[in-house]
């Protein structure tokens, strides 16, 4: 199932990248989009609250007034409030499925995964509460079934359904409670959202501006074309027969009705528990490599690894023995073993005059020393002309498929493990004529930030930079992802042809 889902997402990723470019690709920022829609819902909610009347008799009428009396602003606000909630529900679901399909939920990521599950409940509860306030026949349906659902619980002494027996049993007090909940639950959701991204360095919680503007524009068009409306006012003396439903958030209600409340509780609580345990279930995934290790002899306390760690696993402390110096420390609970820190370490330079290359920080499974040995060994073995060194990652394009007598390939956890000095070294020592860097899709690194950091190191915006003396035309950086393996094969061939012609296109024009 996971493989199928992954294939589906890869197709969607490609489609959206074509139309939106990787920078605006909504698939790469589903969490950020969920944040964005939350703010839209919050802002429009404040507006609606000003004109909304918190009483049984006033709720429906005041909403009708907002929708029709001031359709150009109140009506649009209401539609934004509804459609942004729905969009948030869909983005959140896709975000969850995507993290699952792309295997981004276990290990260190357990915290983000587990803290995401209450967000599902809180978002549903917020939306259902909102529909309840409209006090139309859909709200009556919600009241009826929510009461039936909660009354099943043995903790309910006084049946909740007693509040909705008929028109004369209704009280404004219960309605005030609903309004209170419709503010309180979304605020709890917001708090939960911040906890959710707490362990992630520089979490992307704002979508690309162009995407945000586009989605607002699209919502405006839909709001004017299909404004959000109420249904007939609720009347508890008349049973609900045919009712329009929000099929995004009210799905569980049809279950309560057809299966009964007990089974619905069992299904939803069971599903949430299973999801919570998912990160610890055995899977066919390889065992993660051991966490990064700091070598105090070679750590000068520069803090570049701290700046680059995508999971906040590196901190600094007083150096073990060098007075007045700092030294990196790795928190094993947070380290995801990507090796990005090793690529950031200034000690990871093969130009250093040492007998055996050592570095300040490295992952034991893929030490910088091993990377150098492997690079030299593989390049020395090449026979053809226009030799190319391809560095790739285990989660992106499958570089093994490129290996030939003139192309050497090395795959590692994350390509950002390659220190820029290595590229300089390979070209300067004429071990190869060109270097190709590949990995996950642009903006969608398996370790969140690898390809972003790599681009910034190459454009001298980030430490350690790729030295300006390195001829850029001899380097290609292609973030094509696993699904772009075929394209990478073709591009390596093209690169070789260009190298042979002696006039390769500058890297910027290619990418």
């Amino acid at each position: 199932m996971k493989t199928l889902l992954k294939k589906g997402f890869n197709q969607l990723d490609n489609l959206f990248s074509l139309a939106f470019t990787p920078q605006w690709n909504p698939m790469y920022q589903l969490g950020a989009l969920s944040f964005f829609y939350f703010w839209v819902v919050a802002a429009t909610g404040v507006y609606l609250f000003i004109f909304f009347e918190t009483s049984i008799s006033g709720a429906h009428t005041s909403l009708e007034q907002i929708t029709h009396g001031q359709w150009y602003i109140g009506g649009v606000m209401r539609s934004f409030h509804r459609y942004a909630s729905a969009a948030m529900g869909i983005c959140m679901t896709l975000h969850m499925l995507r993290e699952f399909a792309l295997d981004r939920y276990s290990g260190v990521r357990w915290f983000s995964w587990v803290s995401g599950i209450p967000l599902l409940w809180l978002l549903f509860a917020s939306a259902i509460g909102g529909y309840w306030l409209v006090w139309d026949i859909q709200a009556q349906y919600i009241a009826q079934l929510t009461a039936q659902w909660f009354d099943w619980l043995p903790i309910m002494v006084d049946p909740m359904a007693g509040n909705f027996l008929n028109e004369s049993a209704l009280s404004d007090r219960f309605f005030s409670l609903l309004v209170f909940l419709h503010i309180g639950i979304p605020l709890t959701l917001l708090l939960g959202m911040f906890i959710h991204i707490k362990r992630i360095t520089g979490a992307r919680n704002n979508p690309a501006r162009g995407l945000a503007a586009g989605t607002l524009g699209a919502m405006l068009v839909v709001s004017l074309w299909q404004p959000a409306l109420s249904q007939a006012p609720a009347n508890l003396d008349v049973a609900v027969t045919e009712v329009g439903l929000d099929w995004i958030f009210l799905n569980p209600y049809t279950l309560i009705d057809s299966w009964g409340p007990g089974q619905t509780w069992a299904l939803l609580v069971g599903l949430s528990t299973a999801l919570t345990l998912l990160p610890w279930l055995p899977s066919r995934r390889e065992k993660p490599t051991p966490v990064a290790v700091v070598d105090p002899d070679n750590c000068n306390g520069c803090g570049w690894c701290l700046a680059d760690c995508p999971y906040d696993a590196v901190t600094m402390k007083e150096h073990d023995y060098k007075k007045g110096h700092q030294q990196s420390v790795v928190n094993p609970d947070l380290c995801i073993s990507c090796g990005i820190c090793a690529g950031a370490c200034p000690s990871s330079s093969p130009f250093r005059h040492v007998d055996e290359l050592t570095t300040g920080i490295s992952i034991p499974g893929f030490h910088i020393k091993d990377l150098l040995t492997l690079t030299e060994k593989k390049l020395h073995a090449l026979k053809g002309s226009n030799r190319i060194m391809v560095y790739g990652c285990d989660h992106g394009s499958v570089v093994d498929k490129l290996t030939s007598d003139s192309v050497a390939t090395i795959s590692m956890p994350c390509t950002a493990l390659v220190p820029p000095a290595f590229i300089d070294y390979v070209l300067r020592k004429e071990l190869a004529e060109g270097v190709m860097i590949s990995g996950c899709c642009e903006g969608d690194c398996y370790y969140r930030l690898g390809n972003t950091w790599m681009d910034q190191r190459f454009s001298n915006e980030r430490m350690p930079p790729l030295r300006t003396r390195v001829p850029r035309e001899k380097i290609r950086v292609r973030w094509l992802g696993e699904q772009g393996t075929g394209q990478l094969v073709r591009e390596v061939a093209e690169f070789q042809t260009e190298l042979a012609a002696g006039a390769p296109l500058p890297i910027e024009e290619v990418s």
Binding site: L15, F16, L18, A19, F20, T21, R82, Y83, A86, A87, I90, Y141, Q148, D151, V157, D158, P159, A161, G162, L165, N166, S168, A169, G214, T215, G217, A218, M219, V221, V222, W225, Q226, A228, L229, Q231, L236, D237, V238, A239, V240, T241, E242, V243, G244, L245, D246, W247, I248, T254, D257
Partner: protein
């Protein structure tokens, strides 16, 4: 800057996202109850009679009580459960015993049930015993009713059964 084809692609994708989204926030409609049915709700909230009598304390028992707890007689707190039966057209729709709430079973008994019934004339009978010391029913209601389609009828207890 995105090209014309890209902008067109974006418009198509936005439409593919938002148009179905706007639609499913209210449609298709769901038939919750058939149009020719009615609903009978029965909601009882009533405290059963206390089980047992108060007994006067003997002098020795009285002396043993703490100063702030002294009282002339000992009264039980536990209340009778409600034994409730609902017959519709002679058939039992509901028959249950509802215990009093609270750790000491000294609170009210509460119940709620909802029945979806065909509209039309019916014979409704409600029987309740709220006193464990009494044989048979202590309360009852026997009434012919006419349920209109989609009508919600509520049976409650307020020192006697009431139909609304």
């Amino acid at each position: 800057m995105p090209g014309v084809a890209q902008i067109f692609g974006q418009i198509v994708l936005y439409a593919l996202f938002f148009v179905p989204l706007a639609y499913i926030t209210h449609s298709p409609t769901h038939q919750y109850l058939p149009d020719d049915m009615a609903v009978l709700k029965i909601a009882i909230r009533h405290a059963g009679k206390i089980i047992g009598e108060c007994t006067p304390l003997t002098g020795a028992e009285y002396d043993k009580l703490a100063a702030n707890m002294k009282r002339p007689e000992l009264c039980p707190r536990e209340r009778s459960p409600l034994k409730l039966t609902l017959l519709l057209d002679g058939e039992a729709l509901y028959r249950d015993t509802i215990p009093a709430s609270g750790l000491h079973r000294d609170g009210v008994s509460s119940m709620y049930q909802r029945f979806v019934l065909p509209a039309g004339p019916h014979h409704l009978q409600l029987f309740m015993n709220d006193d464990a010391s009494a044989e048979g029913n202590t309360w009852e209601l026997d009434q012919n009713i006419e349920l209109l389609p989609t009508q919600v009828m509520v049976a409650q207890f307020r020192e006697g059964f009431v139909l609304q």
